[in-house]
């Protein structure tokens, strides 16, 4: 047990280091973006004085290193700073006006919750479906069923997400009005309605992530089917399904868990396009809106959250695959 804790601690430390490196990369990349917030928000009205005034108000006239250190120090204390757009407008009334939206954290929290909800609904469909498909494909490998599943999932992963989204809208919302094409969920909406409205984006994402998980499950199981102990089981006359589920699957868990975790991370970070198409008020849409107006603190915070989600889920995958593999649990 102690060794597992040690491994987890090591991984966490590595994760923290990665986060630090990522934060440097994000900050540099975001600051390399052409154009700046003052010019973006003032548009046609960007006179040099007005641009200077806004830049001064927001501390954009400081050197990048100072800004980075300020931001990092704040982020470590859970303060992701104030949204530029909100800071700018709070200045009109002299105070925050009680909307509570001026802090980046306050702006991101409800959106992040929505994205997690969407990811959850998607995972609810995608994980069981792709595991079942993977197992069945391994069981009936090289059959018509195997080929059909492969073609279907591979073509859905190869199509751009917005294309899949529009195809689904065409079939499920326009031609057969079963599901709403607009996923404008809001706070205080009943769970049933929220779930219905989330279905189309969730289905789109399911199509996108299924192929990867299903193929990995299939490959991992087929790989094991050549091992001597499976041959032994076959010789004993155990049914193929039982061999796969009871004997092969537990040993194939590690790679499967890895790919599932990777795809869950994708559900949080890769939803940008899908959220925009379905007008889903999640973090992806916020990200797009913020990039559009060069609201740097929000963009940075979103990137940081995306990076954090990836690192955390990869960490979980590592730990789980260690736990599922006795050989890794008891290193000699």
């Amino acid at each position: 047990m102690a060794s597992i804790l040690k491994i987890i601690a090591q991984r966490l430390a590595l994760g923290a280091l990665t986060m630090f490196v990522v934060s440097v990369v994000i900050f540099t990349a975001v600051n390399l973006l052409p154009g700046d917030f003052a010019q973006a928000i003032l548009g046609q009205g960007a006179t040099p004085e007005a641009v200077d005034a806004i830049r001064r108000d927001l501390g954009l006239d400081q050197p990048p290193i100072t800004r980075y250190l300020d931001w990092l120090a704040g982020a470590l204390q859970g303060d992701l700073g104030n949204s530029f757009a909100q800071a700018n407008f709070a200045a009109f009334v002299g105070s925050d006006a009680g909307s509570g939206l001026s802090s980046v954290a306050g702006q991101i929290a409800p959106r992040f919750e929505n994205t997690i909800f969407l990811a959850g609904v998607t995972a609810l469909f995608a994980v069981p479906v792709s595991l079942t498909l993977g197992i069945l494909a391994a069981l009936y490998r090289n059959s018509i069923f195997d080929r059909a599943t492969n073609i279907l999932t591979l073509s859905s992963i190869s199509s751009p997400e917005f294309f899949l989204a529009y195809i689904l809208i065409l079939f499920l919302a326009v031609m057969n009005p079963i599901l709403p094409s607009l996923s404008n969920i809001y706070e205080g909406m009943g769970f049933g309605e929220r779930f219905t409205k989330t279905l189309l984006p969730a289905l789109t994402l399911t199509l996108v992530v299924t192929a990867h998980m299903m193929r990995m499950t299939r490959a991992a199981i087929i790989n094991l089917l050549a091992s001597p102990y499976i041959e032994m089981a076959q010789l004993k006359g155990i049914s193929p399904l039982r061999i796969i589920v009871k004997h092969a699957l537990p040993n194939a868990l590690a790679p499967i868990i890895n790919v599932v975790a990777l795809n869950l991370a994708y559900l949080i970070t890769g939803v940008v396009v899908v959220e925009v198409v379905f007008v889903y008020p999640g973090i992806g849409q916020l990200f797009v809106d913020s990039v559009k107006i060069r609201d740097i603190p929000v963009v940075q915070a979103c990137c940081l959250i995306f990076a954090g989600a990836y690192i955390l889920l990869n960490l979980t995958a590592d730990v789980l695959s260690i736990l599922s593999n006795p050989r890794l649990r008891h290193p000699k």
Partner: protein, 514 residues
Amino acid sequence: MTRISRRSLLKTGAAASVLAATGMPLMAAPKSGGRLRAGLSGANTSDSWDGRTHSDLFMIASAQGTVFDSLTEVGPDGSLRGELAESWEASADAKIWTFNLRKGVKFHNGKDFGADDVIESLNMHVAEGAKSAAKPIVSAISEMKKITDHQVQFTLEAGNADFPYLMSDYHILMYPAGMIEEAIAKGIGTGLYAVQAFEPGVRMVAKRVDDHYKGDSAGFFDEVEYIAINDSTARMNALLTGQVDAINRIDFKTEALLKANPNTRVQEVTGNQHYTFPMLSKTAPFNDVNVRRALKYGLNRQEMVDKILLGHGQVGNDTPIGPANQYYAGDMEQLSYDPDKAKFYMKEAGLTSLDIDLSASNAAFEGAVDAAQLYQASAKGAGININVVQEPADGYWSNVWLKKPWCACYWSGRATEDWMFSTAYEAGAPWNDSQWDDARFQELLISARAELDSGKRREQYREMQEILRTDGSVIVPMFANYVQALSNKVATPDTVGNLWQMDNARMAERWWMA
């Protein structure tokens, strides 16, 4: 597909009175009830109920169009009428304006509306450090005096006959005095609908107020919901699948789909929104009036309307005054493509050929680069070689506009002639993007500003438009229509406002469920 100009309006007005005389119903009477769901663009996560920050449709429709009121209002036919002000009168020099406020008006929190609210709401725009877009309007008031609880007197720095018009600006909303911060946080106004829910950049829901001062004449929905849909394809999907009843700004390329659907219809009006190519008139070669005239005739305007706006617009006549303006001189001779005339003016300028750069980016307007290329092709026939310089969209307004001798630009237009001219054509104005400085023009601008006689003003503004048309330094190839789409479940009056999209953003007030 109603295209409304002031003239056709007069005609329909005449037709209406004939119909009324014969006792034929002009249109179905509005009926109350139902919930309007509109998918609107122009929403931002930074939106708030602070009128000083409003700049795009979502908040204009939510605030001035739904929850808040202004002193005056521009009607669908372009005429000015009182909203929170009942009547107003000016001194002979148009310097002192007295507004009589409506009595018995209440804010959504129960507070009575009066003179103090007006003064405090106006002062917001000139407060220390405030960055209001309406600051130039309010800072022109040198003194605000409360005469009675329902009468306010404004003294202006200089006479301005358009002052009541300026009070209809969508930034200048009336907030309850002493609690403006709270009103901005919660959205407390005097409008027909009170806020139920507001999530910036996501949605706004408002409910009809009982016992509103506008009574049964406006505000026919029980509830309105505005959903922020910035993506134009998503907006169209939402309308086609019946998730919303109306959308603004449709993508022209998909217009055929909307027209093919039996449950939706497209509505468009020509307003003051125009695209321009300003030339710096103090920089060579544009300082030569003959070069400017040659360029005016070297452009095929109709082709540009057909190809850039796909027909959703009207050719421009090199003036910024459009069909939604009061003194629009629509009967001036139309500038048209004439290579021979262009060549003639080139000769007058002593030139046989001319090489000039035209800077463009789609940041100026959608299709600006294509428009510049069309210009290039048509001007070639007159011996003018335009070199189209494609500029980066980022920083276009800071680095190109007002700086490069000739570039692409757009203006949403202004409700009054004086406002438009003093923003972009008055000598010395910061946004005078053509360095326009013409003695006669300037003289007319000053005298028309304080002229209360409408007939005289019309003549003055006409002359100004003629000066710009013949000698002006801004090419205005086209006015772009406001194009929106509606479900047949929603009915609108025959005349729809053309000052802004969606019936001047007042659809909650003027439309009803069919």
